[in-house]
């Protein structure tokens, strides 16, 4: 599914990476936008990495009309 042109790239971040990015952006986890763990994108990631716990951070790289490529982060929550 992730190979489809219209579906943005999803990357699961390791805990260290997530911490690093959060501190870079000076944000706490609860300030991140959320993604449900029953989201199709998360399900695909789970099929690769195994179960993804709540509170993990996902990086989403998507095409943007204004900035060519845009990186966003999502916090995995219970669906």
């Amino acid at each position: 599914m992730l190979k489809h042109d219209l579906v943005p790239e999803h990357h699961l971040l390791s805990e260290e990476d997530a911490e690093k990015i959060l501190s870079e952006m000076r944000m706490t986890r609860d300030q991140l936008p959320k993604i449900r763990n029953n989201d199709a994108g998360i399900k695909v990631l789970e099929s690769i990495y195994g179960p993804i716990a709540e509170g993990r951070v996902v990086r989403i790289v998507r095409k943007s009309e204004t900035a060519q490529e845009f990186v966003a982060y999502r916090l995995v929550t219970k669906g």
Partner: protein, 933 residues
Amino acid sequence: MMRGITKRIGSIKFSCVSPDEIRRMSATKIITADTYDDEGYPIEMGLMDPHMGVIEPGLRCKTCGCKVDECPGHFGHIDLAMPVIHVGFIKDIKLMLESTCRNCGRIMLTAEQIESRRGDMSEMRDLGGGTIELKNFSKETAKDASNKGVCPYCGTEQIKIKLDKPTTFREVDDNHKLTPKEVRERLERIPDEDLKTLGMDPATCRPEWMVLTALAVPPVTVRPSITLDSGDRSEDDLTHKLVDVLRINQRLRENRDAGAPQLIVEDLWELLQYHVTTYFDNQTSGIPPARHRSGRPLKTLAQRLKGKEGRFRSNLSGKRVNFSARTVISPDPLLSINEVGVPFIAARELTVPVHVNEHNIGKLREIVARGPAPSMENGYRPGVNYVIRSDGRRIRVTDRNAEEVAENIDIDYTIERQLMDGDVVLFNRQPSLHRMSMMAHRVRIMDGRTFRFNLCDCPPYNADFDGDEMNLHVLQSDEARAEARILMQVQENILSPRYGGPIIGAIHDHITGAYFLTHDNPRFDRFEAMNILSKMQGIEIPKPMADDDGNEYWTGRQLFSIVLPNDFRTTFKANICQNCDVCTRENCPFDAYVKIRNGQLLCGTIDAKGIGNSKGKILDRIARDYGSDRAARFINEVTRLALGAIMNHGFSTGIGDEDIPEEAALQITNYNQECIGQVSDLVDSFQNGTLDQMPGRSLRETLEVRVMKVLGQARDEAGRVAGKHLGLSNPAVIMAKSGARGSMLNLSQMAGCVGQQAVRGERLARGYWNRTLPHFHKGDLGAYARGFCSNSYKTGLNPTEFFFHAMGGREGLVDTAVRTSRSGYMQRRLVSALEDLKLTSDGTVRNTVGTVIQFKYGEDGVDPSRTVRGKAIDLDDLFAEVLGDDADKLLGVDDRDIGDDYGSREKDEMEYTEEEEGEDYDDLDTDFEGGGE
């Protein structure tokens, strides 16, 4: 103005109030339904008990001893004879009853389930789950717990509970009615621990409090009674309702105590329930609303808060304010775009607070001594309406006490000075659809009774002068003034964030004027030139040229170049450009190639593309490259210059401008006849079956498409012929071509032929059976029978054409009416969703909680009002700057059609659809609006 210590609100929690607390906070118990005794004094322990606050001046509150306006009011309470259910909580009560055991009151989940649910809840809280998410989660918990059948703790068989709207519960099996008393008993049995699982905090809210045993009575200040002129008292709706509650409560108690039959007690109980329910919400579905004696439904608690006229939308989100004014607007081209003319009558009422300090005290004494209405002999001078002493007391300044008050002024006083030239005010026109609907202006005090402003400010406000009114607000603090000046002043809003182009610019006559000034570079002698320039201040007049006879003259381009910055350079095609296949650039036969170097207009005509609003390329560049101050100056000067030019030339238009020579009219008629002939040929071939079907279309559709095409050609040809004969010196044509007002379509409809009328984009086909009007044969598919108007507005439509035209026109009107209401509601929803978002200094867009909505504003962090037509940088322009004139050639800039900005593109599209329908009802609409105002 003294301000207390400000503290930050950490959190707000809403909760139920317990009957115990109702009694504790109550100033008095209410037992009698009577309000006043025979002498007109309020009865003790009645609904108007003076313990609950005072509403009559002179009396003192018996609880706090304060007078009117000082006493905040105090609650009383009614002890209900039997408990009743609170309608507002009916859903929660139902959920609670269903999810707990009818016998032991435990939540019907196993210990493990409870454990996991509680764990999930605390995790949600840790990850920033909002109140709404938690609420939804506990609702799910309750849903899971209900429908269990058997209690896992005591093994009692459960009976399904049904809710008879609005407030009656029934057990389904034997249709046994649960009395509020039983409901309350059940709720009481739920243990505190299980409440936490259900998302309630038992410390602040127990479920049995949702079944009322005591009713809080709001203070009299909440429900004041009005004394009518006749001396009669008229009570508030809430008081009326409370009287009903008290009466029934009394009867119920008496009957119950006297041991009346169960049936009677139950009836009264239900009646009490009805009254309490309508006291909270008089629009509860399923019960008739309680009515006033006159038949008007009572306005009870929920009605006071709900809807457009409720407390929230009309008193909290929208308030009436002081220091504001409203009046009719009118134009004044001699004002700067940053100014607003304020009538002195209004200025005398509007004030600005000025703090007295050691530096300004002398000056302020002088102003105060003038009193509230200084003489107008030497023009308007601001007076003072109020002086506020350092202890906060207000002193009204009158002509009599002015001298004395001026003497007594001291440091730390504040005086309320009347408005004067240069004050910063906010100016606004409803509907406020975008941020340019409210901009900051500088005040100019003037005679007359209207607000006045520069015509260039009309487009952002969408204002005209057919009776429009506008509002003005005077800013009251230095911070507000600074912020308004920096962010909201008109000149800061020249470039629109909607499409990164100028929204403020020359309109109508300004464009025509600039056209006359520059088109084909006319010459002006000294007299004319000075006339044109006479209204301009602080300009340097260029050296005149001399013709062969030695007479000095100025060229129009020279005059226009006066207002350009000295190093200005740009190149573009004017609005009058004919889009020739090969552009001859400087040698353009229409003078449409605009070239400006070093602030000198070298060739070309200045029209809508140069200085017009939303299109003006010169304007756009000046605003972007030279800053808003320069842009404002440019607009001011262009306005004056263009008006000088148009007044020098003289300009008017009338229906005579659409006169075309006879042979042209004949030509149009002939071509129309030819097209109509073609249409009937098409119809014939359709009926014979010889018409070639188009791919993807039925035969009928094919016919329609072909006919529409032929008739479209007829109108275009008529327009072309008319345009050719009208010529470029025709005022109407000048306006249309320069982009000042009107279009060639308007002209060709007036001079040539109105063309095909349409409803929903199709030829007219409604009315009678198989025909539009009884004047035609059934099944007639010809041009005339289906709404083609071969006449022009000028020659006049014949009756059938007129009727068809009205059909097409009606659709336009209905469309606009529907569109405005629908888009208004859409906007309201969008605004409510976005109103708490803000751009933080780190570039993220966040809501009030701090949650990120967008990691970078617009994903690229670019302010659209600083873009070049939506692009962050204009590379072509940078090249042109570096490479000079060669760049255009190298890049082939002017061979490419860059197209217009978004603004005009939207507009064009709209016009296009309207043209398709054969009508441009734009102007008609505005007229209707005007009539309504």
